[in-house]
């Protein structure tokens, strides 16, 4: 070991005793640093979440076009008008339908794909992951355009293919009828978001310890039994979160509606986000106050809906434990 040599007294820069005391105290005290580190987030949260939310609440009590001064206070008039606006309720019904069906279709399918893509025996896993993930990279507008042309009954690829092979006598217009337009939009949306939810499930599945599957193998469990008795119970907590996320995200549907149907045919695929957009921006004079009220009503209703799902899921879990099933 080398001789450290004579000790050298290193003197720190001198500071006024009071200042040093304050600085040292602050440096050592987490009560000082926690707010400092939180400040950027708090500022951003206030600026981009709380303040706009408060502003939206304020605007919803005014008859305001975004141009004139904000001085026409009308109380709850916007709210009463929205509550009696059949188009809002039609859009609300479509939005819920979209969210529920979209979630019900995409979650099992993406889980299945995730299970398959985490199997050891599967070849070309990366290729399949990329294929499933590709649509999420495409801009929504492009997806909308692609499907508009693909499904077009006049000369779209799908109809041409089916007609030329005699599988259809008349072209089908999936986006052009009340009965099919929303379902078509839902399926296209599932296609688009598929990769994202598949990744969520894959992340959840990778948390399941491999030893449990080995133990199940030793006990002679088949794939179905391993899925039902090992995989699903272990990913259930994450599954609840993924489900709630899926619902919330689906409630925001907007871009795909704009590019595929513009709410049509007629009003068949009107959703709340599109309703808010058209009221706020599409036709002058703009109805910012009315759109703000619609956004808030929808937020409250959606909050009740999503929270209700969470409460029900927890209650079901409690009952399951209670009865030991």
């Amino acid at each position: 070991m080398a001789d450290p040599g004579p000790a050298v007294a290193v003197s720190e820069p001198r500071a006024a005793p009071g200042h040093r005391h304050w600085f040292q105290a602050a440096r050592d005290d987490s009560r000082f640093w926690i707010p400092v580190f939180l400040l950027p987030f708090v500022l951003l949260y206030f600026g981009f979440t709380l303040w706009p939310l408060l502003a939206t609440i304020v605007y919803s009590f005014f008859d305001w076009d975004g141009v004139q001064p904000l001085n026409q206070f009308i109380g709850v008039d916007n709210y009463t008008r929205i509550l009696s606006d059949p188009l809002f309720w039609s859009a609300f019904r479509n939005t819920l339908l979209f969210a529920v069906l979209n979630t019900v279709i995409k979650l099992p399918l993406t889980l299945l794909a995730a299970v398959l893509l985490t199997r050891r025996w599967l070849l070309f896993k990366r290729f399949f992951r990329t294929v499933f993930f590709l649509p999420i990279i495409l801009p929504v507008a492009l997806s909308g355009l692609v499907f508009t042309y693909l499904l077009n009954p006049s000369n779209g690829a799908l109809n041409s293919f089916l007609l030329e092979r005699g599988l259809l006598k008349q072209p089908i217009d999936l986006l052009g009828h009340d009965n099919t337009a929303l379902l078509a939009v839902i399926l296209i949306s599932v296609w688009q978001i598929f990769g994202q939810y598949m990744l969520y499930w894959m992340a959840a599945l990778q948390q399941v310890p491999e030893e449990l599957y080995e133990a199940a193998d030793l006990d002679g469990a088949n794939e179905r039994q391993k899925m039902l008795h090992v995989t699903i119970p272990l990913i259930r907590p994450v599954a609840v979160i993924i489900t709630l996320l899926a619902l919330v995200n689906a409630l925001h549907v907007f871009g795909i509606i704009v590019t595929l149907t513009a709410g049509g045919p007629g009003r068949a695929t009107y959703v709340v986000s599109y309703f808010i957009y058209t009221e706020a921006f599409q036709n002058a004079p703009f109805k910012y106050g009315y759109a703000s009220a619609a956004a808030l009503i929808f937020a409250v209703l959606a909050f009740v809906f999503v929270t209700g799902q969470g409460v029900l899921a927890r209650r079901a879990e409690q009952l399951r434990r209670q009865y030991g099933v």
Binding site: L53, V67, Q68, D173, G264, P265, R267, Q282, L296, F298
Partner: protein
């Protein structure tokens, strides 16, 4: 709920930015004459972007101290950003705004967005001679003796109601474009021939969003009108039996497979027509330049007037006081330079007019359109529109009751569910349903808002009433006589 908050947040941020903008500032006079000036213009004529660059270069060449910055963005984006620009005091000097039609000036004045083009009454008087007499009207372009607006587009030729026929498709079907279908039954017969003898659809009919208007205005004007308000009795009128006739005729076309299938947008339908996948497309004269952009020229198509019902009384297309487009921003500090530029632009034989018309962007209210629009398709358009009764001058309530400048009744009624008429028609058309009940519900909703608001305004002392919107002595196929307006 993060996402939902996010949605509200996006909306509110936009609103918030507006709110932070505060009021308008009074425009200050320009600085020393000859000092460098940049004039900013904004509109949503994206297709004219290259032309605007040429205009800016030419004007700068003639006036080296003035730089023109002419920006064109998509209409939806423009409608959102212009209010923000005004609120944040970054408005352009000159801007395009047609919302409100004849009442645009009053609405813009109420918003504090505009200032007069000039304080020099003499200069304005000379300039106004470029338009036909009666083009500058109190309450529409003038207020308090000051000039705020001027007619931009011509409204005699410009408007919906023209039928384009693809020559190749007509030829394959054994039809002659020089004998276009003039009645509804002839149109049905032509469609029958096209479907039987060609692989093309008969009519490319866009239905997405508000695009159904392309077909509807043409056919509805043959029966009654291309507006949804009855100026004979002051009533919204989608449920008028004559409109029901028109709608049922279109339903029949659809049932027979004469409309190209799909809820397509106008661009798709136009491409179908230009590609020979449809024989007929109905729209305005702007299609001449649109077809040219698609590489489809007038040797490939012919233009005719829209077909009308066989033997019932006919209607007409409307010519309205709606051609006011460019306004001088209240925030501009370059009033004199802006007016000088507009005088140059509106020179009936100048660089702007010649090149604007050469590109077929529109017909202009202050130019000899026939002189510069030489395309054969334009010649047909002129001939069609000059036919008596094709387009008639509609009565203007604002000229009957100047107090309507302060009324919100019509705007409130027509902008509540603004696309309602198209939604009702398309939804019932694609589902082959009778639209009577939906049409009546929409009309009742609009009428209730209209009547209630008029009554409120009347009670508050505003001299407005339903009578302002009633012109019982006029008929839909006649020009309204301006002498019938009360003398102000």
């Amino acid at each position: 709920m993060v996402g939902l908050k996010g949605l509200a947040a996006v909306l509110a941020v936009a609103l918030g930015v507006i709110a932070c903008g505060g009021g308008q500032t009074a425009a200050q006079p320009s600085k020393t004459p000859g000092a460098p000036v940049t004039l900013k213009l904004q509109d949503y004529s994206v297709e004219q972007t290259d032309f605007h660059k040429q205009v800016a270069a030419e004007y700068h060449r003639l006036n080296p101290n003035v730089t023109i910055e002419w920006t064109s963005i998509a209409q939806a984006q423009y409608n959102q950003t212009l209010p923000l620009a005004f609120s944040s005091k970054q408005a352009p000097d000159v801007f395009y705004w047609t919302t409100g039609g004849p009442n645009a000036m009053n609405q813009l004045l109420a918003s504090g967005w505009i200032q007069p083009w000039t304080t020099d009454a003499t200069a304005a008087a000379d300039w106004e001679k470029r338009w036909p007499s009666g083009s500058f009207l109190n309450g529409i372009t003038l207020k308090g003796g000051k000039l705020y607006g001027f007619p931009w587009q011509d409204t005699h030729y410009w408007g919906p109601g023209y039928m384009y026929m693809n020559k190749a498709v007509f030829q394959q079907a054994g039809l002659d474009v020089s004998k276009p279908p003039a009645t509804w039954s002839q149109l049905s017969d032509a469609c029958k021939a096209i479907r039987a003898r060609t692989r093309a659809y008969c009519i490319a009919a866009p239905m997405k969003d508000t695009d159904f208007q392309r077909l509807w205005y043409a056919l509805a004007a043959g029966r009654l009108s291309d507006t949804f308000f009855d100026y004979r009795n002051g009533r919204f009128d989608l449920d008028d039996p004559r409109f029901m006739d028109t709608f049922n005729y279109i339903v029949g076309l659809n049932k027979n497979g004469y409309l190209a299938p799909g809820v397509n947008d106008k661009d798709f339908s136009r491409q179908q027509f230009a590609a020979g996948q449809a024989g007929i497309y109905m729209d305005g004269p702007w299609m001449v330049s649109v077809w040219a952009q698609l590489g489809f020229h007038s040797d490939g198509y012919a233009v005719a007037a829209h077909p009308a019902p066989d033997d019932t009384p006919r209607g007409a297309l409307s010519q309205r006081y709606s051609q006011y487009a460019y306004w001088l921003s209240s925030q501009s500090t370059h009033q004199a330079e802006a007016f000088k530029f507009i005088q140059w632009v509106t020179n009936p034989t100048g660089f702007f007019v010649q090149n604007f018309l050469k590109n077929s962007f529109a017909t202009l209210a202050f130019a000899d359109n026939k002189k510069y629009l030489g395309d054969p398709a334009w010649k047909s358009v002129f001939k069609i529109a000059d036919t008596k009764g094709f387009r008639v001058v509609y009565p203007e309530p604002l000229l009957k009751c100047p107090a309507l400048a302060d009324s919100k009744a019509f705007t409130m009624a027509s902008t509540t569910r603004p696309n309602g008429e198209w939604e009702v028609m398309v939804q019932n058309l694609v589902n082959n349903r009778d639209m009577t009940a939906d049409a009546r519900a929409l009309v009742n909703m609009r009428q209730a808002i209209f009547d209630t608001q008029l009554q409120k305004e009347q009670a508050s002392g505003l001299k407005v009433s339903k009578d302002c919107y009633t012109f019982s002595g006029w008929n839909y196929d006649q020009d309204y006589n301006p002498a019938n307006y009360p003398k102000s």
